[in-house]
């Protein structure tokens, strides 16, 4: 599904190398987790894959189902099936949540040469999905993320994911700022989307989220590289001993 080879990235504005050769292969149907200390480059990886400004790829490749992601515009990546659940979902005053989602869904469909969804079908679909995530109708009517609590914002991210049905979902510290109940809701939402044709890359500091969204593979990232990969046990090891042991071991 997602193939990253030797990906090296620096900041556009300053001479600072953030990613120093990342290799990662996420197969369809699997859940991979990336853990790592602050500043290791986890979030940068998610931004670069989604096409955010401010980064320069100096080496390497990233493909989604064989298509060169790095050559695509941000919106093309989305239409190709990439989705990033933001660590800090953006508030957009004046743009209604429903308008936003319908515009996005139809734009993606159009880009893929599919029929646009009718207003009625859209309404039915979003009501059903919102209900699963305990998002009430009032929240849907409000401007995107405006006045939402931290938990509501994250649930809204998952709702978008459920509506857009991407192939490759990247969750960037979706657990940050969530209480236990919200984390369960969000995780249930993600788990409901697990599917043979879909893959997940879950970026997190803590093992806690991985209790709910159980990964197939866990990677440890440090200083711009993936330094160790293993099974779910690796996450438990991090939780117990911190990163220091692992980093010393691979140094």
């Amino acid at each position: 599904m997602l193939e990253i080879k030797g990906l090296a990235v620096k900041l556009e504005e300053e001479d600072k190398q953030i990613l120093k050769g990342v290799d990662l292969s996420v197969e369809a149907g699997s859940v991979h987790a990336i853990m790592g200390p602050n500043g290791s480059g986890k979030s940068t990886l998610s931004y670069v894959l989604s096409g955010r400004d401010g980064y320069e790829v100096t080496d390497g490749t990233a493909t989604l189902e064989g298509e060169d992601l790095l050559e695509m515009d941000v919106e093309e990546r989305a239409a190709a099936g990439l989705f990033l659940a933001f660590q800090y979902p953006v508030e957009i005053p004046g743009v209604g949540n429903m308008t936003f989602l319908r515009t996005a869904l139809n734009a993606q469909r159009k880009a893929r040469g599919e029929e646009e969804i009718s207003a009625g079908d859209f309404l039915k679909l979003i009501r059903a999905k919102a209900k699963d995530l305990k998002i009430d109708a009032e929240m849907l009517k409000r401007p995107v993320n405006v006045g939402f609590s931290g938990g509501e914002k994250k649930r809204n991210e998952i709702l978008q994911m459920a509506m857009l049905e991407p192939k490759m979902c990247i969750l960037d510290e979706t657990d940050s700022g969530l209480d236990v109940d919200a984390m369960k809701l969000v995780s249930d939402g993600v788990n409901a989307l697990r599917d043979e044709g879909r893959a997940f890359l879950v970026i997190t500091h803590y093992q806690r989220l991985l209790d709910h969204i159980q990964p197939d593979v866990v990677h440890i990232m440090a200083d711009g590289r993936i330094v160790k990969s293993g099974g779910p046990d690796l996450a438990l090891e991090v939780e117990k001993n911190g990163y220091t042991d692992i980093l010393t071991e691979v140094a």
């Binding site: 989604s50 096409g51 955010r52 400004d53 515009d73 941000v74 919106e75 990546r77 989305a78 239409a79 989705f83 990033l84 933001f86 979902p89 953006v90 957009i92 005053p93 004046g94 743009v95 308008t99 936003f100 989602l101 515009t103 996005a104 869904l105 734009a107 993606q108 880009a111 401007p143 995107v144 978008q160 857009l164």
Partner: protein
């Protein structure tokens, strides 16, 4: 103090081509008075402080510059879905045949010339009177010119609650038309009406509207200025607002090489509310765009509220101007005055100039004003694009979001929806070139 010679010459050149309408009845005095005031002031030029950001030349010169007619046949008309009484003007001339009969429960509607031909008429106490009062402390010579020479217009007296809006539809059919219209509106105590205006009116349009909202009256005004790229307009609204009354005006402007909209409101009764809002979209790609909102609100009563909300979206060298003033007179305690003017510049070529002013002579008031100029929020843009919304559509969504605060000033949901729908369509049309 008479105007300097250069101004006198320019003024005489302009009025040489105009004739005072005859058979004016009681209006003759008002016209002559306005004419002598105009000569005293002289038409504005670039050196006037009040015209520092807008060059009045094309509005004051003897003949109207040519303006091509905009083809809007493939567009749904503004207010098209709204049930309304239609009053149609073609190049500034009332067209009785195409208009609805001037009859609506709760309203008395007449053509200006008919009102002027009636010896005893309420309009006598309004025509030129608000305009004259509004010349102080700032001169508005184009309005005086209007009072002197306007030979068409509509007068409306609201005596009850009008069941539907009255809509002035200004058609532009002649590329060289030069129209001067003067309307009067008097809202009696407890009465309520909505006035809509739509269309370019002429190649050059000078419009003056005098409005008197009596105690406990309510007046709603929603206007969409025509989309003809080369059209020019100088409009003045003079309103007097009585106690416990409501005055609300919203203007949508897209296109127009030159627009100067002046709004002069005097709040004279306690517990009244006056809101003026505007949303302007300017794209200098097809023709230059210059849009100037000049607002002067005077608080001369206790416990009144006023709001000025003006938003401009500018690109390809478009120019926006806002001059807004809140004057709180001595004794106008508990005044709540709010003023915001904001521009969204979509490129580096466009400019926005703002002159917000507060002048306060009462000590127990809450007045705030703010003015900002900014670009599209890149973070929001990225967020929308990351969900698959193409850049141009995402930009338009953010443009609409930016304008929302001004559009929210329209009370009627149906009118608000109509304005938003038209805006979305126009943005879409521009996207598709």
């Amino acid at each position: 103090m008479a105007a300097p010679a250069v101004k006198q010459d320019a003024t005489e050149a302009r009025i040489a081509g105009l004739t005072l309408p005859d058979g004016a009845g009681w209006a003759t005095d008002a016209r002559n008075d306005a004419l002598s005031r105009l000569r005293e002031m002289g038409l504005p030029n670039r050196r006037d402080e009040y015209w520092r950001y807008t060059d009045p030349t094309s509005l004051t010169q003897a003949t109207a510059p040519r303006a091509a007619i905009f083809d809007d046949r493939d567009e749904a008309p503004v207010f098209g879905e709204i049930d309304k009484l239609k009053i149609i003007f073609v190049d500034g001339v009332f067209d009785a045949k195409r208009s609805d009969p001037l009859e609506l429960a709760g309203l008395e509607i007449e053509r200006l010339s008919d009102a002027m031909a009636t010896d005893i008429h309420w309009a006598k106490d309004l025509y030129g009177q608000r305009e004259k009062a509004g010349q102080n402390p700032v001169a508005r010579p184009l309005a005086a010119l209007n009072t002197a020479f306007a030979d068409d217009g509509i007068v409306i007296r609201a005596t009850g609650k009008a069941e539907k809006p009255v809509c002035f539809i200004y058609l532009h059919r002649d590329e060289t038309s030069d129209a001067i219209l003067h309307h009067l509106v008097k809202v009696e105590p407890g009465a309520e009406m909505t006035l809509l205006e739509v269309g370019p009116a002429a190649a050059r349009f000078n419009k003056c509207m005098e409005i008197d909202v009596a105690d406990t009256g309510a007046f709603h005004h929603v206007r969409a200025q025509g989309r003809d790229h080369e059209r020019r307009a100088a409009t003045h609204i003079f309103a007097r607002v009585g106690s416990e009354s409501l005055y609300k005006s919203f203007t949508l402007t897209a296109n127009g090489v030159m627009t100067r909209n002046e709004h002069v409101i005097e709040i004279v009764g306690n517990d009244a509310s006056a809101h003026v809002a505007g949303a302007a979209l300017g794209d200098g790609a097809n023709a230059p765009f210059h849009h100037d909102d000049t607002v002067f609100i005077t608080h001369d009563a206790v416990n009144c509220e006023s709001r000025q909300v003006f938003k401009k979206v500018l690109r390809n060298g478009a120019e926006g101007v806002f001059q807004g003033k809140i004057l709180v007179k001595e004794g106008a305690q508990k005044t709540d005055g709010y003023q915001i003017s904001q521009s969204l510049l979509l490129d580096d070529d466009s400019t926005f100039q703002a002159k917000p002013e507060l002048e306060i002579y009462a000590d127990d008031v809450a007045c705030s004003h703010g003015s900002t100029t900014g670009a599209i929020d890149e973070t929001a843009l990225f967020y929308l694009r990351s969900r698959g919304v193409p850049t141009d559509i995402a930009t338009d969504l953010l443009v609409l979001a930016f304008l929302a605060e001004a559009i929210e000033e329209i009370d009627s949901e149906a009118l608000r929806d109509d304005i938003v729908a038209r805006l979305m369509h126009w943005l879409e049309r521009r996207r598709q070139g």
